[in-house]
Symmetry: C2
Subunit: 281 residues, 2 copies
């Protein structure tokens, strides 16, 4: 993938997963593979989280243990919760103790919507002043960056923005944060999914005719045509491809993409201001 995107062979500090669907969609198959990275096929055993967000209704599940064998993760693999936006994160602690308060996704209400945020990367000395409109509860660089993003957005918007308004402003703010380190992120208000890559992130669209997909992390294959109706669409984002046999695409360094209604609807690449290699862990 060199030359056209990001390589997938670097050890990430955390792993990200997101799904954006045209209809409420279960992410059970993907989470089955993804959660194996939380202590089984990956060493990200310092907590995990999964969120289901339909715009108004929003549910966040977090746990300080290993996603691969936590009873709550087992519950979520067994009981498909459906949502138009699903986020998941497995954590390998770099900044901040192993604690529930440091588990992603982080959640804040802004302009009458719940906003959810996950981060993979490491920000060096990024502690800009916060005005108190949103403050971190835990001790991670990630939650501080999320609060700063919301603070800056709060100054630009007085009514909840739709993605065409939000995306260009977000791209500008995210580029400012990315000067301080690696800032791979997922953000959603339950309507649109925003994903930004500094180092590693891949995405995929699924639509009719649905193919068969085989998990990379577990020996499980499903026929996506039986799990999804012909008119349904979904986009999937992950730190590294979760399946074999599907056309995963790498994000470019500095790329922000917006997914809505199960498809990629907007993207912009802001060149990273310092060499990408200097940002890596």
């Amino acid at each position: 993938l060199a030359g056209r995107g990001l390589g997938f062979n670097r050890v990430a500090m955390c792993e990200l997963f997101a799904l954006n669907g045209s209809v409420p969609t279960a992410a059970t198959f993907s989470f089955n593979g993804f959660s194996a990275r939380g202590g089984e096929t990956g060493e990200h055993a310092d907590g995990w989280g999964m969120a289901f967000h339909d715009g108004d209704g929003c549910r966040v599940f977090i746990d300080a243990g290993r996603a691969c064998d936590a009873p709550l993760a087992h519950f979520l693999r067994q009981h498909p919760l459906r949502a138009r936006n699903v986020l998941a994160h497995v954590r390998k602690a770099t900044q901040g103790a192993v604690a529930l308060a440091n588990c992603h996704p982080f959640q804040r209400e802004w302009l009458g919507r719940h906003w959810l945020f996950c981060h993979n990367g490491d920000l060096k000395d990024f502690r800009p002043p916060l005005d108190g409109s949103a403050l971190p509860v835990g001790s991670t660089d990630s939650e501080w960056a999320f609060c700063w993003l919301l603070q800056q957005l709060r100054r630009r918007f007085s009514v909840a923005p739709a993605w065409p308004q939000l995306a260009p402003v977000l791209a500008e703010l995210v580029a400012q944060v990315a000067r301080h380190g690696s800032f791979n992120l997922l953000l959603t208000d339950g309507q649109a999914l925003y994903a930004h890559a500094c180092t590693r992130l891949a995405w995929l669209e699924r639509q009719h005719p649905f193919a068969r997909a085989h998990l990379v992390d577990r020996d499980i294959e499903i026929d996506l045509a039986t799990a999804n109706a012909p008119g349904e669409r979904m986009a999937v984002v992950a730190t590294a491809p979760l399946t074999r046999g599907e056309p995963w695409q790498a994000f470019l360094p500095g790329e922000l993409r917006v997914f809505e209604g199960g498809r990629s609807v907007w993207h912009q690449v802001t060149p990273l201001s310092i060499p990408e290699v200097a940002l890596a862990p």
Copy 2:
């Protein structure tokens, strides 16, 4: 109980439960009885929620169905999560549709802490202006009142207050809301538990020597001495007593109590400004 507190024979619109412990405590036994009221022994089948809050780490579980037979409620009855503060709510919709966005507990971050809020009652025409620092996501009177309380508190405090600072200010604000209807509430920042009654609320302290307790709603009895170590204490709050054979005490109308370290540490009664009977559903 007439003359000294609140009767327990009125049909409530929702039911509240809280536990405040000196150490992280499982509420599995209590939730077993309480969740039966969500569609089995009670008609509160329009959603439910349960939260576990230790000051920094905070987990909220909500569900739009019946607590008595929801798979997630079953999971929580089977897998004891321990926390110093536990809240639960079963909902009978009065204002706002049956939807995840209208399930309690509601959650907002203020001054670097997660605040959780549950309400039982009905507020008439209570839609005071909100400045945008906290806005409702759903459509209930309850969430609006929570956002208003946080907005008013935000104007009084610039660092997170401990309960001795917060309690008298909260009592004053809650009394203002209670002019508009029935405002039985639970509020916690994970440190202290604040509980206010207009109509129905009861509380109980448990400490060594622990007794046997028998659930009112299910035929289950436990020996609390085997479930708790001698030095542990806990306070339990519920709309109506959950057990037989324990000395539950009724809140007075207009009473705010603070529980911390597993005991009642503060209380104040602000007489309700209009007759209590006029507030009832």
